[in-house]
Structures are given as C-alpha cells and as structure tokens.
C-alpha cells in the first residue's frame, strides 16, 4: 500500500527526512554482506534514526563477520563483538560502566547503546542473556534483524524460521514434505511480556515507521527491543534486487505485522488497506516452493490460518488499547 500524503508528512516530520538525507552514514560502505541483503539496510536505518553518540554491540553472525574484519570496519562508531549468545550481556556491561564513570564525570553525555543480533543469536542461543538484560533494566536498545534462520552458517532452522520453510536442517523431503513443522516463536511479544517500556516490530519496507520507532525508543529510558525483518536472498531463495519488495509483502500479508507495545499498551502501527493472501509472500521464495506441490495441498491453508490468528489477536488488542488510552491512537 502507498502511504497517504498525510501519513507521509507526519512521519517525515517526525524523523526529519531532509536532515537525515544529509547525515553521514555511521554504517559505511565496504562491508562484505551479500548483494541484496536486508540487514545492512536495517542497520543504516537504525543508525540514521539515532541522533546521539552510540556504542554498538554485535552478536556473532552475518552482520558481525562481514562488517569488521581486521584491519577494516564499516562501523564509524565504537563497536564490540564478544560472542554469539551475549550481545545483550556484553552491552549491559558497557552501559553499566558508562553509568559508573558518569558518576565521577568521566564519561560523555547522552550516549545510547544498541545491540544488533540475528534471529539465531536472539531468539535461540541469546534469549537468556537478552531476557536478563531486559529484566535488569539496562538503558539500551536491542535490535534483532530477523532473517528467519542461521544464515551465516548456511541456512539452518532457528525458532524464528516460519512454519513450512525448507532450511538445511528442516529440509522438505519424501518423509517430511512440508519442511519446518513448527510455528515461529513470537519473540516480540515475549519481550513485551518482560514489562519493558518499549517493544516493537518493524520492516525496512516501511522505513518511516521503522525510524520513528527507533527514534521513539531512544527517548525512553530503560530497556527497549525492536524486531526488524531482514530478508536474506540466499536463505529465502529470492532475487537479489527485491528485499524491500519482499519485506513489503511480508507486512501487507500480515505475515510480519507492524506494531509497538509501549508501557504495556499494544498498538498496530500499520494496517494494510487490503490484507493480501499469504501466498503472495510465500510464492516468490524458493524456501516455500515445496508448499505449492500437490503433496502439500492444504498446508498453505494452515499457514494462512496461523497468520490470521496472530493478526486478528493483534488488532483486537490494539483496539482495546486505543479504548484505554485514546491519546495514543492513530
């Protein structure tokens, strides 16, 4: 769906689009991410929406191994990578030292802390350290770039992998024609259930929505979490030139709903004028090709039903929140 002029103007004002276009990228060219990868676009958007000095913590993964290779880095900000499962714990340490040094005036003002992890490093192996950091209330933003599998090691299933996807460890075969048999873990809701002040879901196709959420998150003290869809043409088996298009389809089919949970109040931030059938998102992706074969007849209906169930639940909760606090609607 095209944005209405009114919405565009509002969001544009919120993120000061014209000024953004003049700002220096703090995630620079020269990184070695694959052509067409969604993750660097996500990182650029997040950093462009960050109008503060920032320290970045990066979980092991595609983004990490491709962006800082001795003696080169694409990061124009202080950056730390320690291991796979602990971007949140590592950043918690940095943020705590910041508070300690601030007490004696030995640290600069207004520094923001952002962790980037893929879905493997966030939904799976890093869930404990993320949960711990959120519970302790560190003043930081954790951004998960969710491409739905362990792409760095060669497309293995994670708990973010969608139902029915063919990956190298959930392959569709003669004994199991449907690929991954389990639904995704709903991490954004799990993070919101920590009672943190801000959790949201975003997509690079809806960049104003994404950047507004990041900007908003930085103005809130405490732990924040944003889950951002990041198409991977290698794992999704899509063309290298359509990661934005495919992420738009993810949103418009409501496979990847855009919403935020602020102080417990859930608000859907984008409702497609016409909710498209899930098939439109699945069809261009090689990882779902088998679902269109005769032996999987009916499976897509199960996928559609799951998407509908989640979407209807979000709409219902969003409407209820708006009734509770009408000021936040729109």
């Amino acid at each position: 769906m095209e944005l209405s002029t009114k919405e565009l103007l509002k969001w544009s004002a919120a993120v000061k689009l014209r000024e953004k276009s003049k700002r220096e990228n703090r995630f620079e060219h020269g990184h070695r991410m694959c052509a067409g990868c969604g993750a660097p676009t996500v990182v650029k958007m997040v950093l462009l929406a960050t109008e503060y000095p920032v320290v970045v913590s990066n979980a092991t993964g595609c983004l990490e191994v491709s962006s800082c290779i001795q003696d080169y880095t694409a990061w124009r900000v202080p950056w730390i990578h320690t291991a796979f499962e602990n971007a949140a714990a590592t950043l918690a340490g940095v943020e705590t030292m910041y508070r300690a040094l601030q007490k004696s005036g030995k640290a600069p003002e207004n520094v923001k802390f952002i962790a980037f992890g893929g879905d493997g490093g966030t939904y799976d192996i890093g869930l404990q350290s993320l949960s711990g950091a959120m519970e302790r209330g560190h003043d930081m933003l954790y951004v998960c770039y969710d491409n739905g599998a362990y792409m760095n090691t060669g497309i293995q299933r994670s708990s973010a992998t969608p139902l029915g996807a063919d990956t190298t460890t959930s392959p569709a075969g003669s004994a199991n024609p449907a690929g991954k048999m389990q639904t995704r873990k709903d991490l954004t809701r799990i993070m919101a259930a920590h009672g943190i002040p801000y959790a949201a879901q975003a997509s690079p196709s809806h960049w104003l929505d994404l950047m507004t959420k990041v900007k908003k998150a930085h103005e809130i003290k405490g732990p924040k979490f944003i889950n951002i869809l990041a198409p991977c043409n290698r794992g999704w088996r899509t063309a290298t030139d359509n990661s934005i298009e495919i992420s738009r389809l993810a949103v418009e089919t409501c496979y990847w709903p855009l919403y935020e949970v602020e102080n417990g109040q859930l608000r859907v931030t984008f409702v497609p004028e016409e909710k498209k059938p899930a098939e439109l998102f699945f069809k261009p992706q090689g990882r779902f090709k088998h679902l269109f074969a005769p032996e999987n007849e009916g499976f897509l209906k199960r996928v559609q039903a799951e998407i509908d169930r989640v979407w209807q639940g979000l709409l219902k909760e969003s409407a209820a929140s708006e009734n509770v606090s009408p000021g936040q609607a729109g």
Partner: protein, 394 residues
C-alpha cells in the same frame, strides 16, 4: 599498620575487593563463592564502594558483562567457582584475547558429575589454557594479598591481562583464620587509579573490539598473546616486591620450603601445602631431608625457576588435586616439563599422586605416607606406579 582479624577466606577476599573499589562488579551466585558477592553487594548497598553491580542471569553473562564493562574503560571484578567457571569458559578466552584486566577470585570447587560442592582444583586447572594469569593461595591471608596484587599485575600497561586468584573452596573460603588486613588508604595507594587503554567509551575515537581475523593474522595475534604472557613473571615479581615493602609479606613465583638442602620434596598447591609443611618439619626432626615447593604463579608457569629449585633433589612427588583423565595430573605435567628442560639434565625421580578430590580431607598421614615413599625411591627403590590416587576408600 594493618589490623589483625579472624575471618574466613571469602570475607578476606571480599574486603580486598572493597579496598580496590572497582567501577563495576558483575556477579552470579555459586557455592562456595557466593559469600564473596553477597558481602560485596552489601558494601555497595551501604555505600562503602562506588561500584555499580550487575546481577547477571548466569556466569556466562557475568563474564560477558565483565568484558563489556572492562572494554568500556574501567576497573571490573567478578568471582566464581566450579560449574560457573565451566560455563564462563568460552568467555574466559575472549577476556584474555581482548587484553582486559578483569580480576576474578576463583574459589576452587570440584566439577560435576557427580555433583559436589567441595574444594578441589578441577575448575582452575580446566581454565589453564584460557590466557588468564593464575595466582594460587594457601590461606585467607594469601588470597587477600594475591587479590590486591592481582589488580597491579593485570592492569600493568606491559600486559593488560585478566587475573584469577584461586583459593580452596570451604577449606579456606569458609574457615576462620587469623590474618592481617592492610589499611584501606594503603591499599588504595598501592593499587592506584585505573588507567583505561583504548576505552570503548572514547566516543570521539571509535574503537572496534572483537573483529574477525582469519588465516592471515590470527596466528600472529596468538603469538602476541604468548609474548605478553612472557612479560607477566617480571611484573609479578616487581609487584610482589613492592607489596613486601608495604606489608612485610614476601611472595615469589612459588614458595620454597626447606628445599635448599632437601633430598625429597612435595610439589603441592594451596591449603594442602600448609598441612604438608608441618609433616616436612616433623620428618626433618627425624633426620629426613624433606622439603616442599608450593607454586603460586601457575599461569604463566615459571618452568626455569622451578626446574632450578628442584633439580638437586633425588625424588619428588607432584601432588594434584585435579585429574586429567587419561593423562598425568595437570601439575605433574608442568613439573615434568620443567625438569626435562632443567640445566645439565640433572633431575629427580618424579611420581604423581592424585589427592583430595571433591573435598576429600588431606591429612598429615597422607603427606607422611607420600614422603616416606619418596625416601625409599630416593634410595633407589623402584617406582610402583607413576600416577596413583591416594586417600581412596577401598
């Protein structure tokens, strides 16, 4: 002047940490270390230190947060034991690989399975190859002194390495002993202010910690770590000399006890060395030329000095409170290496005894039995078996 007190090892170490007044302490409870972080938390709650606490949700995160905090640019502590150290293992390598001077008391405890909370050295020996400096301590006094010295060693600009200070779980950590505290001001002056190196929080000069390094430079990077380790010995000696001037307590790379004219000796770490020294004295009274060597700096290991100290002996038993299953005890391997390299090729006959696992008592009669066996070996008796468990209930 210091103050004479009767305290447990944990209390002594907690007070050393209080006197160091770190910027950040990340913590996670585990027996028998818990007492240290409890005490430290109460120091924070009562404003006795300026430290910010991180109550991590696991030891893996405790060490990850310690690394993040140290990279950010300040003084960092944590503490652990046993399974906690095992869970940290991945991150121990990253702390040393990034040259971050994190200070960590390790209250030595057995590793599972079967589950056991009591003292042995399996945890510390398992961390042997992690790139940390290791200082081992016989008593509450030594653990306290080593903790204070650890800050100077780890934060020294020539090395910048994490340091673990080991003491025996329960045997030392939970036993009350007489010892001497230094004055807070003296310790503060001795340790000095923290000087950051390439801090992450220097926003104007962005640094990258933890890049990918493949076949082109990884090997060179590791050689650099090896070279840095080579500088530790002198730093430890220099810091120990300074500490001796402050406290009157003299520490070297290891302790030699009646070794100079000895013919037989034990090599033994930590609390069991105390028991053994009494037995050495007893046998000396009977005309047996017994001695003892108690390692202190285990990583890096002072091969040359240990080799020199032991080479004139006729027979030595290396006592290990840990086992490398399928191999000799870890300390035995070090001593064997040291003796093989010793000048002139002169060396004693060596045997290895595994003792005290999972907190099994090590009694004077255990030390006596081993020393009397050495008397026979020194006279030329055959070695029954090189490696043997002692104190076993059959």
């Amino acid at each position: 002047m210091g103050k004479i007190v009767a305290v447990t090892g944990n209390e002594a170490v907690a007070n050393a940490l209080r006197q160091a007044d770190p910027d950040v302490c990340s913590l996670y409870p585990i027996t028998p270390q818990t007492d240290i972080v409890q005490r430290f938390s109460s120091f924070v709650a009562n404003g006795l230190v300026k430290t910010e606490l991180i109550n991590a949700e696991s030891e893996h995160s405790a060490m990850s947060a310690a690394i993040g905090a140290a990279a950010a640019g300040g003084r960092v502590i944590t503490a652990t034991s046993s399974q906690g150290m095992a869970l940290m293992w991945e991150m121990l390598h990253i702390a040393s690989g990034m040259n971050l001077p994190i200070i960590m008391p390790l209250v030595n405890r057995a590793l599972s399975a079967p589950l056991n909370i009591h003292g042995d050295h399996s945890d510390g020996m398992g961390a042997r190859d992690t790139g940390w400096v290791q200082l081992w301590s016989e008593s509450a006094q030594e653990a306290y002194d080593n903790t204070i010295m650890a800050f100077r060693v780890g934060e020294h600009m020539d090395i910048r390495l994490p340091v673990m200070v080991c003491m025996d779980g329960f045997i030392v950590s939970h036993s009350i002993a007489r010892m001497e505290y230094l004055e807070d001001g003296e310790v503060k002056k001795f340790i000095g202010p923290y000087v950051p190196k390439n801090p992450l929080l220097d926003i104007e000069h962005p640094k990258s910690f933890g890049p990918l390094i493949l076949t082109d430079l990884y090997h060179e990077y590791k050689r650099l770590q090896h070279e840095i380790m080579g500088r530790v010995k002198n730093v430890v000696l220099q810091v120990s000399d300074e500490f001796a001037r402050l406290s009157g307590r003299k520490y070297g790379l290891f302790e030699s006890y009646r070794l100079e004219d000895a013919e037989i000796a034990l090599v033994i770490l930590n609390s069991a060395a105390g028991t053994s020294k009494d037995v050495v004295d007893e046998l000396r009274g009977k005309g047996i030329k017994a001695g003892l060597l108690k390692p202190r700096l285990f990583r890096p290991f002072p091969y040359e000095e240990v080799g020199q100290a032991l080479k004139h002996l006729k027979a030595v038993c290396v006592m290990d409170r840990a086992d490398s299953f399928g191999g000799y005890g870890p300390m035995f391997m070090e001593i064997s290496s040291a003796m093989y390299q010793a000048d002139g090729g002169q060396r004693p006959r060596l045997i290895n005894k595994i003792y005290g696992l999972g907190g099994r008592d090590f009694m004077p009669h255990d030390a006596r039995g081993v020393l009397l066996e050495l008397v026979e070996i020194a006279k030329g008796a055959p070695v029954r078996t090189v490696k043997e468990y002692i104190g076993v209930r059959e």
